[in-house]
């Protein structure tokens, strides 16, 4: 088994991982230290899911905007389940990070005077979302990747699948990875490790996420005893394409797109988001620019009332952009046109786009403190895989791209500082753990064993999650889902890979990802079942649980892994030091919000 030694190992080459790598490299330079940084990713960095983000990244930009306003939007958007100290740090560092991106060459869209342009986004009081046409994530990821090439100290391990962390006496000592091209195991000894492995949208059948978004990093930390926090909060995006789930960005509504039911009626005014804003004059926090959870819930209500249309076998409502005119649509939303034309054969210039909600974002994740460190010494997490406490019960669109930057950098700097005064652990310790991994892999791929088929298990999992933990949830549906997931976890122990080849064995990877998925699905279901209230993205239909209950549940859920035994749940206090919980209101009802 090959072993290599690094000061810092970063797992994940998406926005968070790349920003962490650059942050660590810069921090090392500042300390006058020479540190070796390894960045592993199961796909080439520019394939990471950040590439798919369309809409934009938020930061207080214009002179009439304030940090307080961004703070308030984020806190109320998250239904007060956020760490307010973290949000405070976030809003104060957002702008400098976006400017830093600009300095690295990110092609932000511009105003005529050459300054960066901002657009409106759902749940944000003012226009503060920076964008690069409708390919913001794409441009950010490529800018970060290309910039990372400037740093020789960042050594990339592309297409290495990280199997496990090596942990000894409560401290991380390295990672164990599989080189996908050869099937060889590699040991990376490290003084600090950063997880930046992204979300877990693929737990659900219908989602906007890329195929690689399977929650691997969450499972790795979880299996070593780190809590997964607030996993019951899963964001449905109101506008996915029927069939594939491909995202139609919220920016469409920011630009003035409207939502219609099958009768051509702007139904959002019936759900506390009105009054109707005039065509072509979108107003923040009203109607189509309400937050995602409310919009997805409104869809569900319309569906129940039989006022949705049909596209293929999906129930849909309609996103109408036509009144924006061809020029604006093509200039501001070119990618959307391309997507709609290719994938459902609809030209947004001429027809409304049929859409439906789809799972989009994992609010919860690996619990970290405000410095991005987990309960394991030297182990950090940043990006969508982490729960640093920014999003609470519902993430606001365009906060997460900024999160990657703000907390990616912070994690990188923290890891660099720790590495500076930490020694490598004894190699023998790593080898022992790697041996165990090797045995597990060998068992998985043992062709002589009959066993469970990963395809069946995967379909059963996404089915269970969708029916149990959808836009609206009931005690019964969640209990069923949890029971099913636990059964599937037991069956997973007997899973078998047909492909015996060592080279680029993607079936093996699917199975490993599924194992991760099932573990965190249990955490997600358990959190959902135990949270007997409705808050943010977690909405119950059960009697007496349809509203927020701050007395009992103004708390983070923490789920702890128990091996083969059922996972355990704890509650954790929330940091509400700046802003006391208040009614979360949009439309005219939200007018009284303090500014």
């Amino acid at each position: 088994m090959r072993q290599q030694d690094f000061d810092i190992v970063i797992v994940g080459g998406g926005g968070a991982g790349l920003r962490a790598a650059i942050g660590a490299a810069e921090a090392a330079k500042e300390q006058g230290a020479s540190q070796r940084i390894a960045m592993l990713s199961k796909v080439y960095p520019m394939r990471s899911h950040t590439v798919a983000a369309e809409g934009g990244a938020a930061a207080v930009t214009s002179s009439d905007d304030t940090h307080q306003a961004h703070f308030d939007d984020t806190v109320s958007g998250g239904d007060w389940l956020v760490e307010q100290g973290v949000v405070d740090y976030f809003v104060h560092h957002a702008y400098q990070e976006l400017v830093q991106m600009e300095r690295w060459g990110c092609p932000w869209s511009r105003k005529d005077d050459g300054q960066v342009q901002v657009r409106r986004f759902g749940g944000m009081k003012t226009a503060r979302t920076w964008f690069a046409a409708d390919k913001t994530g794409f441009h950010m990821l490529h800018t970060l990747f290309q910039t990372s090439l400037k740093y020789p100290e960042i050594e990339r391990f592309d297409e290495y699948f990280v199997l496990d962390l090596a942990v000894h006496e409560g401290a991380v000592i390295g990672v164990i990875a599989l080189q996908i091209a050869t099937g060889e195991l590699t040991l990376l000894r490290a003084k600090a490790v950063i997880l930046a492995t992204g979300g877990a949208g693929r737990l659900f059948r219908f989602n906007t996420n890329a195929g690689i978004v399977t929650g691997d990093g969450m499972a790795m930390a979880y299996r070593h005893g780190v809590a997964l926090r607030d996993m019951e909060f899963v964001q449905y995006h109101p506008t996915g394409l029927p069939g594939s789930g491909i995202l139609i960005t919220e920016a469409c509504r920011g630009e003035g797109g409207i939502l219609l039911n099958k009768d051509g009626y702007r139904y959002l005014q019936d759900y506390g988001l009105g009054p109707e804003t005039p065509l072509g004059q979108p107003e923040n926090k009203y109607m189509e620019l309400g937050p995602r959870d409310k919009l997805s819930q409104a869809f569900w209500q319309e569906q129940q009332a039989g006022r949705t249309g049909k596209f293929g076998d999906s129930d849909v409502v309609y996103l109408d952009l036509r009144h924006l005119g061809e020029k604006t649509i093509l200039e501001r939303l070119p990618f959307i046109c391309e997507l709609a034309k290719s994938y459902i054969n609809v030209d947004p210039v001429k027809e409304p786009i049929p859409i439906r909600p789809a799972v989009h974002y994992t609010m919860g994740g690996i619990e970290t403190n405000p410095q991005c460190e987990t309960s394991i010494t030297g182990l950090y997490a940043a990006g969508e895989c982490a729960s640093v406490g920014l999003h609470g019960a519902n993430r606001l669109g365009s906060n997460s791209l900024t999160e990657l930057l703000v907390f990616g950098r912070l994690a990188g700097e923290q890891a660099s500082r720790r590495a500076a005064h930490t020694e490598w652990a004894d190699s023998a310790l790593l080898h022992a753990q790697a041996e165990r991994q090797q045995a597990t892999l060998a068992r998985l791929c043992d062709g002589n064993r009959s066993g469970e088929n990963w395809v069946d298990l995967k379909h059963a999992m996404v089915q269970a999650m969708e029916s149990g933990c959808g836009i609206y949830r009931t005690e019964e549906s969640m209990a069923q889902a949890l029971a099913q997931i636990r059964k599937l976890r037991a069956r997973y122990r007997e899973i078998r890979v047909n492909d015996a080849s060592k080279i680029f064995n993607t079936e093996l990877l699917e199975c490993l990802e599924l194992g991760c998925g099932l573990d965190i699905a249990e955490a997600s279901c358990l959190g959902a079942l135990e949270r007997r209230e409705s808050r943010g993205a977690h909405q119950r239909l059960d009697e007496g649980m349809q509203t927020r209950d701050d007395v009992n549940y103004l708390k983070h859920s923490q789920v702890f892994y128990q091996g083969e035994a059922p996972a355990r749940l704890h509650w954790q206090e929330v940091d509400v030091r700046f802003s006391a919980p208040a009614e979360r209101a949009y439309g005219d009802a939200g007018k009284g919000d303090k500014v």
């Binding site: 050594e155 391990f157 297409e159 080189q179 050869t182």
Partner: protein, 131 residues
């Protein structure tokens, strides 16, 4: 790392361009220089003849009229037009012309170049077409 980056494929076989229409048209474009070279050599022969005197010159005109030579030069004419058609569309992509920050539409540039061909032909008509 340590992947297989030292691995290199054997280079393409020499008949690669027969596999796809696009590549055949490319080769055709490149091959337009063959009849061109023939015509240029004819032209140079004409110049030699001109230096040698009136008889050689007449002889050369006769040579140019022989069927094979004439056929090849007709081919060269066709080649020059095909070359023009392929070359003109490349120009705006190699040198996008911008006027006041806006780039000129490609088809305008292409049309302009064809206008050039016509003007040159008219010039020749003016020079040689009238007695």
């Amino acid at each position: 790392m340590n992947k297989t980056s030292s691995q290199r494929l054997p280079p393409l076989k020499r008949n690669w361009w027969l596999k796809h229409r696009f590549f055949k048209l490319y080769m055709l474009r490149e091959a337009t220089v063959l009849p061109l070279v023939f015509f240029l050599l004819c032209l140079m022969a004409g110049m030699v003849a001109l230096v040698q005197g009136a008889d050689s010159w007449q002889g050369w005109v006769g040579f140019m009229g022989s069927p094979v030579v004439l056929a090849l030069n007709l081919l060269a004419l066709a080649a020059s037009l095909y070359h023009a058609a392929t070359f003109f569309v490349l120009f705006p992509r190699v040198m996008p012309l911008r006027i006041a920050g806006r780039s000129l539409p490609d088809n305008m540039i292409v049309a302009g170049q064809w206008a050039g061909v016509v003007v040159v032909a008219l010039l020749f008509f003016w020079l040689l077409g009238r007695a």
